[in-house]
């Protein structure tokens, strides 16, 4: 076991544990905090895969942005309703069966095709290549993404407008 393997398994256990806590914890607020841990763990996995830029984007946008938004939404809805939102789950057995069946089928498909363990060398300046790819080959999706962002921003503002 190299140090990298140890780090990977530690991160994997952290990720799976916190993901389970997200879907199982009774307190919605705790679930969001577990989600933050899961997202940070994912950033760690990205770092292990030598995708530093993606890891930082993940930390900034996900762990920073989404968690803040979700906490904000919970606080707003809790204050309006005037009581703590505890969450209950329904049909746990059915959900577990569906998720377990899907997991089994995906895992069997993965195990049939073992991955090459060798890691080809990455280009030296990965972030630079990434930026070049975004602005040359993928410039069209990039611009569409900007449009999507604008639409999301405007519709969120529209939804949140004060009653008149």
């Amino acid at each position: 076991m190299t140090g990298e393997m140890v780090a990977f398994w530690g991160l994997a256990v952290l990720l799976v544990g916190s993901a389970l806590a997200v879907v199982l914890s009774k307190n919605l607020f705790h679930a969001v905090l577990w989600l933050a841990l899961a997202l940070t763990g994912t950033a760690g996995v990205f770092l292990l895969l030598e995708a530093e830029f993606i890891a930082w984007v993940q930390l900034l946008l996900y762990a920073g942005g989404i968690v803040t938004i979700v906490v904000f939404a919970i606080v707003v809805t809790e204050r309006l309703v005037g009581e703590r939102i505890s969450q209950t789950s329904r049909r746990i057995a059915g959900g577990a069966i569906v998720a377990g069946a899907l997991l089994a089928s995906i895992l069997s498909a993965i195990l049939e095709q073992p991955l090459a363990a060798a890691r080809p060398a990455l280009p030296a300046e990965l972030t630079r290549d990434l930026g070049e790819a975004v602005l040359t080959r993928f410039v069209m999706p990039f611009e569409l993404l900007a449009l999507l962002m604008l639409a999301a921003l405007m519709s969120a503002i529209y939804f949140a407008r004060p009653d008149d």
């Binding site: 939404a73 809805t77 309703v81 969450q87 789950s89 569906v98 991955l115 890691r119 939804f159």
Partner: protein
């Protein structure tokens, strides 16, 4: 790969079983996250930046989706005074 599959299925479990709409959104976040892990892993083992570019796109789209989803939740809450998915039966004939 297997790690991503496990996280994806946990997220699916969350989506299917949660009654709270915010909880369902959290499950969706988990599923998208698992997909991102897969994309980055493929990019790494294929030595191609395309997967990472796609990961950036999915991250951005997820942020937009989360912001919009929560805006809808808040709006819904104002109209119906509830965030429980079971109570949202406006379309019932």
């Amino acid at each position: 790969m297997a790690l991503a599959a496990v996280v994806f299925c946990i997220g699916l479990f969350g989506v299917v079983t949660r009654r709270n709409t915010i909880g369902i959104l959290l499950g969706i976040e988990l599923m998208l996250n698992a997909v991102n892990i897969n994309l980055v892993a493929f990019a790494r083992f294929g030595a191609d930046v395309t997967g990472m570019v796609f990961t950036m796109f999915t991250i951005c789209i997820t942020v937009a989706e989360a912001a919009l989803g929560l805006a809808i939740v808040i709006l819904l809450f104002r109209v119906r005074r509830t965030v429980m998915a079971d109570h949202l039966d406006l379309l019932k004939g």
